[in-house]
């Protein structure tokens, strides 16, 4: 139907010009925080909740909710980008830096990749380098409020420099590997790394 335009339809308002430079290619600015779900929201009892770092590490570690809250707090302020084309500019999340967790677990030299595994079964894979050096967090607060379950609470992974499907909700742990292991969406056509600035949306991009 090339060329047809619905008279008077504007759609949700997208980027104003002042935001355009902050947007990766193909994205629009979304003031809200859309909930995207691929399954039932897991309900996790905080007394049962654990955060694990395991696999190719010298000291596999597990933290309870209280223990992880006692770790040094770290806040990310900035933009997040979803592969479905919305970007939320100027938001903030608070939790603990993944560097803190990795320092405790001591990755082995052959560890090159990570799989984030979650309550409810979701997984996503990342190069280890993409979660080190101040680029990733495990967060439990969004804009000063406890992270709601529909957005991944109690805690989610946050890797804001990659498309937001890498910021796995309902995080249970990180497993270090010496090879890449495609996760839930990466096994269904999505890109293994997902850099929004290079528009790495799909496998083969």
């Amino acid at each position: 139907m090339g060329g047809f335009v619905s008279r008077g339809f504007k759609g949700r308002r997208r980027a104003g010009p002042e935001q355009a430079t902050r947007l990766p290619p193909g994205q629009y600015a979304e003031p809200g925080f859309p909930v995207l779900t691929a399954g039932p929201t897991p309900r996790i009892d905080l007394a049962e909740w654990r955060l694990r770092v395991e696999g190719l590490v010298a000291s596999p570690r597990e933290w309870t909710w209280e223990e992880v809250q006692a770790l040094p707090r770290s806040t990310f302020e900035g933009d997040i980008h979803c592969v479905t084309r919305w970007s939320k500019l100027g938001t903030s999340f608070t939790g603990v830096s993944v560097d803190t967790l990795l320092d405790a677990a001591e990755p082995l030299p052959q560890a090159s990749h990570v799989v984030a595994f979650c309550y409810g079964g979701y997984t996503t894979n990342l190069p280890l380098e993409d979660v080190r050096g101040g680029k990733a967090w495990v967060v439990w607060e969004h804009e000063g409020q406890p992270l709601p379950p529909e957005h991944g609470g109690p805690a989610r992974l946050l890797v804001p420099h990659l498309y937001f499907w890498k910021s796995a909700k309902w995080l249970n742990g990180l497993r270090l590997l010496d090879h890449d292991a495609p996760g839930f969406w990466e096994g269904l056509g999505y890109h293994n790394r997902g850099d929004p600035w290079r528009e790495e949306r799909y496998w083969g991009d």
């Binding site: 995207l36 969406w185 799909y202």
Partner: protein
């Protein structure tokens, strides 16, 4: 809002599945690879996530199928179906 509000059924993705397969899949019978129950896909519980569609068995909740699309390509994961029956009468003309 919790995921109950976001949970739909096969009817919600009928057009997309028809575009993909050339059949009205809402009337297609399929058996769950997990529990063995068979249902028409119109009865499947569907999460129409923006990145893809996940259809779950109404009896046991396990994934029946997952579909994603982008840049002129479709990706299908049918591992959750032990079998899927396509009826010629449900074929849809493009």
């Amino acid at each position: 809002m919790d995921e109950t509000d976001l949970r739909l059924d096969g009817n919600a993705v009928a057009g997309m599945l028809a575009e993909m397969s050339g059949f009205d899949l809402t009337v297609a019978w399929g058996a769950c690879a997990g529990c063995g129950t068979s249902n028409q896909l119109g009865a499947a519980l569907v999460y129409a996530h923006g990145m893809g569609v996940v259809a779950c068995c109404p009896s046991c909740g396990q994934h029946l199928l997952r579909v994603a699309r982008g840049e002129g390509r479709w990706w299908l994961d049918l591992r959750g179906l032990a079998w899927l029956q396509l009826d010629e009468q449900a074929r849809i003309a493009r």
